[in-house]
């Protein structure tokens, strides 16, 4: 694999990892604070994507960027206060069952309203087009429009969709913002303390329940961001929720339950694994090798999970004794 292909696969891997990370961060936040595995998180992503389509059609995409995460925050808050909180003293399996039931209801309702096929999500005019990466000393014809970024090592020049690059950037900003929120604010301090020992924190006179409800809303809002920026890439259909939920679950398991850093690393790891197997499969010439790699490309994320589970059952960043 020459450098150009490597570079593009690397970017594709980052972009896949960006979506996995946005969904998995929400999952791991909810799990870390409330101890609930949210099988409806993929459904939240779908709600966000559909809402983004509707809003960008009627009002414009810029509005969607602000309205959808806010809307999802409310949806998350409502979900936690209205449904999930009645399940805190019910068995874990019941919690999973109720979120699973909710996921079915949301998926089927969306299917009923919008139909089973994916609906087109038009990019805003400023978001379409390609970014051109050119190597040192390359000559790029003047006629080619779009953003140009120099990248040492590239032979000639190569393209990558602008929107996917933007998705990586947005994901990075969200991750950074979440890090700052949790690490440097009072709210974050309380939440982190609550993740360690909710009983102690509530004994100290802090309303942990309220803080955790906000965390649930926050996780849903992150899924909202993922829906707005990821929707055009992943397509908007009633099946996309589960299609991204499963790898995101794997991200959480591989990274270590409740670990935000772990989720981030694992998301990039899975994105890269997926992108590079696809890249190698496309390059393979030998028919047997090509067949093998095409099959591998379908299951590589699971194989990474297999290896991690065998070598480090707690996940990459899971701590001993925490959420065993």
């Amino acid at each position: 694999m020459e450098f150009n292909a490597f570079f593009l696969n690397f970017l594709t891997g980052l972009q896949l990892g960006a979506i996995y990370a946005l969904i998995a961060l929400g999952l791991t936040l909810i799990f870390g604070t409330l101890g609930v595995v949210n099988f409806a998180h993929g459904a939240l992503y779908m709600i966000a994507a559909y809402a983004a389509v509707l809003i960008s059609r009627s009002m414009g995409f810029t509005y969607a960027i602000f309205i959808v995460p806010a809307l999802l925050f409310l949806v998350g808050l409502l979900m936690e206060r209205g449904l999930i909180r009645w399940f805190y003293d019910r068995p874990h399996t019941d919690q999973i069952l109720v979120t699973f039931g909710l996921a079915i209801v949301i998926e089927e309702a969306l299917k009923w309203i919008f139909g089973a096929n994916n609906i087109p999500f038009a990019l805003p005019s400023w978001g379409s087009g390609q970014v051109l990466f050119y190597g040192l000393g390359a000559t790029v014809p003047e006629a080619i429009p779009g953003l140009r970024i120099p990248m040492p090592g590239i032979e000639g020049f190569t393209f990558f969709p602008f929107w996917r690059l933007l998705l990586i950037g947005v994901s990075a900003i969200v991750v950074l913002g979440l890090f700052v929120l949790l690490q440097f604010t009072r709210f974050g301090l309380v939440v982190r303390a609550g993740m360690r020992d909710p009983q102690m924190v509530s004994h100290l006179g802090i309303n942990v329940t309220q803080k955790f409800a906000i965390v649930f809303g926050l996780a849903a809002a992150i899924a909202g961001v993922a829906g707005v920026f990821g929707g055009p890439v992943t397509q908007v259909s009633p099946t996309v929720g589960l299609a991204y939920l499963v790898p995101s679950f794997l991200v959480v398991v591989i990274g270590g339950m409740g670990s935000l850093l772990g989720a981030l690393v694992a998301a990039v790891l899975l994105g890269m694994a997926s992108a590079f197997t696809t890249g190698f499969a496309a390059l393979a010439v030998d028919p047997f090798m090509k067949g093998f790699l095409t099959a591998l490309q379908q299951i590589v994320v699971y194989l990474v999970a297999v290896v991690v589970l065998l070598v480090r059952p707690r996940g990459l960043f899971g701590k001993k004794g925490v959420f065993e």
């Binding site: 399996t93 209801v105 309702a109 299917k111 398991v253 379908q298 699971y302």
Partner: protein, 363 residues
Amino acid sequence: MSDVAKPVYAGADERGGRAGMWNGRGRDLVVVAIIGMVTFTMPLWLVELGGYEALATKIVIWAIFALGFDLLLGFTGLLSFGHAAFFGTAAYITGLSLKHFSSDVIPAMAFAFVGTLLVALFIGFLTLRRTGIYFSILTLAFAEMIHALVLSSTLQRWTGGDNGLTGLHYPTLLGMNLRGIAVFYFCAVILVIMFLVAQFLKRSPFGLMLRSIKENPMRLEYTGINVWAYKMMAFLISAMYAGLAGSLMVIYEPYVATKFLHWSTSGEVVIATVIGGASTLIGPMIGAAFLMYFENVVQGMIGEQWRLILGLIFAAIVIFLPGGLIDIWRVVWRATGHKLLHGRRHNVPDMELTEPRHTDPRP
């Protein structure tokens, strides 16, 4: 029913003493007789309810599937979201055997049995390394892996890819044709046998051990029991039931749909078991009948939105009636003021959450 004064342990069966015909073996026999009667006469009365004859076969097959699923969920407390892997694997192997090897169902089912066992060993070994919620996530993931692998373009030549496996020979049993009502009786006999097996397991020390694992795996671990081995056994037995159901599904209709491996099949068996009532043997079978009836008859009445309605029913049952439909009589009993109840049979209690969530379950 035992008398009120007798202490009843949560999760233990309410069948307390051994005395009396209604307790113990006597009761078991009556239950089996009723189940057998209801099952074997199903083609006669199901038509009256708007069903069709073949629906009875589907109900019986799904009853086997749900029965096995409940051995894992209701008795061991493990919620699997990946049982489609076993159902589908067995279906594909049965299909391949019917297509390429022989039209006799016995070798087909034998191959499917071995194949399912191997898949279950693989998935069980990986998923049972972690407890509780990890198990649900990982079973879902590995079932999706098998689904993706079977449908991949590389294996398309053997599995038929997105079209499913078609062109199978009509199945035979020792030279007899297995079609129509014969398939039904074949499946019905197997259901009654599998019910007897499940009842035997439930009454056996092994079954008691599984229920203890559900109640408190840690305490069992401290007493020196190899909890992992018991969980693995339960997982394998449950997978065998799913595999058997998958094989029968292909024998009933010689065509392997890709849906058999899809997560929605795993979801449906969860729905059937929980709607009917986990931790009982009869509940999941009622749930399976409910699901199949809903999917095939009610669908015709309410149209495309049947899945939405089913989802709503499922969610409502999880929220308000965790014991499932089988629990309705208890609710009625309680409402009419009877005191026969000793404690609600929890759907699926597990060790961490017998106390409120905010008393930290983590060590």
